[in-house]
Symmetry: C2
Subunit: 387 residues, 2 copies
């Protein structure tokens, strides 16, 4: 298997409600930024993570559309979907294409245009990431599912709503330093607890928003990375792993553990030959505040049930022992579902290059991304190291 | 790049209107048949081609659902989408995963459950494979698009409706010998020409049907294939290629050529080191009869404009020089859009193993599959050889 490196990354100037742009416009802006950042004069192949082009925009065949509007026909262009882990899965597909020797320069990307449908339609579209026959059909939505996860965690470990809120406060503090973030305002624990209750115990400020956005990265063989990279150090992909779990939340043997992340992370640590304490920065899937707590435990960054106090103690802040979501995370930066997994890669690459400005983690050399779909039926983990 | 082989294939007992089965049931039947045919005791990873789980069934996150109901959690499970070429793209993704060394035993599959929505809804869902902003939004549907292709071909080359009908007659003759086919009835040129006109010049018997169905195959490193394969000769994947073209049909420089297939086929012949006349059997994407004619020309099986007379002369019948769609093709076997590209692989593997019964091509050793999405914005080509 050939070693693979990232030589360029890009996003939209700003994520949010991009009324003036269509899905293809959003994609092209991010992809061109990645191509410019890499400084390559062509690509050999491309992948696009997208959760539901069909339900959000009436457009499937997303790979071909994006290849066309990026001016890249006739390169192979394929869409990859694993719900909110679509972006991570697209990165992994590109990783394997380069690792196999099939292609040298591969664009991996993600896009979602979520604001062109009504709130009800968006809620329906997102619910297709759950078990249609046993969850969505019965009317459950994602805030409801993650609220159940929060209640289970509170019941078993004594996690509090203040600890949930502390995740949001930290991520918005980080996002306030990220010009691309959709909601870059600082908030307090009181702001969260006084915001409208969406699904008890989750307030609206425990939830990630509906976002239009895209992100992209350029991959190449690690052996060619230093020669090719024009605008920043190349970053090697030490590990690219993925795992699945039951589609329905009610089928899990432990309602307080995200087993797909536990397994993907264990495989990633082994593949990269790294331990959690050798990793300097983390981007994880905080679709709801409870998710970040459960993911901390799944990644081995805290003991089971101790993630809430760890966040309150500042362990995961910039400057803490294990900084998490320096970008602002899904919570503040936004969550265009198919793009999120790639945007995590963008943030970590910029951190490892020392390009993160006011939110820079000092001496960051190794980073990890964790992207998941549904209530954790899919997880994708990447570990990156600056070359 | 490691060589990759297919050691097992499977489909549903019969494709068609499978009212008593949900999408996951349909998938599991085909996948278990492939696993049983291979005789493997586990898989390391899986891909599911599916065009629009969201619009047809309200279920995205299709990879994870299928891993769960196949009892394969926690293996990585990813859905791949390239419209009607989703199945071919899923095979190619699995090919690269094995070729890279990431995994050894990979299930590649495709599924679509199309009959649980109304005809109007299905027409809308299929139209999402075209350019949403410039084609679908204006009301064009796929029969309309392929009718335009037929008119362009007739105008330029003198192709006739009788030649189009000859494709349907041949494919139904083959499908009549395929117990899995949705419409296994024999028809005549008159049956086609007297059937209802859908979009002039295409009659309903020029069109592939709406189908529920799935197909699957098991891949492994070629070096382990003979040891692993329990129920038939392994088949090596000599080439796996893909190309894109403009999403909108009106953007093409030549309305009578499927350039993505021209390019994918040229790359496949080179990768496999085979010429068209060294290939014994072909499965191609006859979503409409005109498609099969244009694909013959793109694959180099006929001169430009000569494909119609070649079909009438029997060149593509079983026993002809270049047998096409021995399975019955999309026309007679059915076209569950995400599954079609994998079912083509199933048919060719069975042909190369000598397992095709009354529709067996004599001494078939090398076969080719061509799967496309939209009006040809995506094409995937595989060349296979029995080991």
């Amino acid at each position: 298997m050939r070693d693979v490196a990232i030589i360029g990354v890009g996003m939209n100037k700003k994520w949010g409600e991009l009324w003036e742009m269509s899905m293809r416009d959003i994609f092209v802006e991010a992809a061109l930024n990645a191509i410019d950042n890499a400084g390559v004069d062509h690509i050999d192949s491309m992948y696009v993570g997208c959760m539901s082009g069909g339900l959000f925009t009436g457009q499937e065949h997303v790979g071909a559309v994006m290849a066309d509007y990026l001016g890249q026909c006739p390169v192979p262009a394929t869409r990859v979907e694993s719900a909110c882990a679509s972006g991570g899965a697209a990165v992994r597909a590109g990783f394997m294409e380069v690792a196999s020797g099939m292609s040298d320069i591969v664009l991996v990307s993600g896009v979602e245009k979520m604001n062109d449908v009504s709130g009800d339609e968006a809620t329906y579209a997102l619910a297709t990431a759950s078990d249609q026959e046993w969850e969505a059909f019965s009317g459950v939505t994602f805030p409801g599912l993650y609220a159940m996860m929060a209640v289970a965690h509170m019941h078993k470990y004594g996690t509090t709503i203040e600890q949930l809120a502390a995740v949001a406060v930290k991520n918005h503090a980080n996002g306030a330093m990220n010009p691309r973030a959709q909601y870059p305002m600082k908030i307090t624990v009181d702001t969260v607890l006084n915001s409208v209750l969406v699904a008890d115990p989750l307030h609206i400020l425990d939830c990630s928003p509906i976002t239009d956005g895209a992100a992209a990265a350029i991959l190449c063989p690690a052996g060619r990375a230093k020669q090719l990279a024009k605008n920043g150090a190349p970053v090697k992909i030490l590990a690219s792993t993925q795992a699945s779990d039951t589609i329905a939340y009610h089928s899990r043997s432990d309602l307080t553990s995200i087993e797909s992340t536990v397994r993907a992370a264990a495989a990633a640590y082994k593949m990269a030959n790294k331990k959690p304490d050798q990793i300097d920065t983390f981007e994880v899937h905080d679709c709801f505040t409870i998710a970040e707590l459960m993911v901390m435990e799944a990644l081995g960054l805290s003991e089971k049930g101790k993630s809430g106090p760890a966040v309150q103690a500042g362990q995961t802040a910039i400057g803490g022992r294990t900084p998490i979501n320096t970008s602002g995370g899904l919570k503040s930066k936004g969550h265009p579902v198919g793009a999120t997994g790639v945007a995590q890669i963008v943030e970590v690459v910029e951190q490892l290059r020392g390009d993160s400005g006011p939110r820079q983690v000092k001496n960051a050399k190794v980073g990890l991304t964790q992207n998941m779909g549904g209530t954790g039926a899919s997880s994708v983990v990447h570990i990156l190291e600056v070359m």
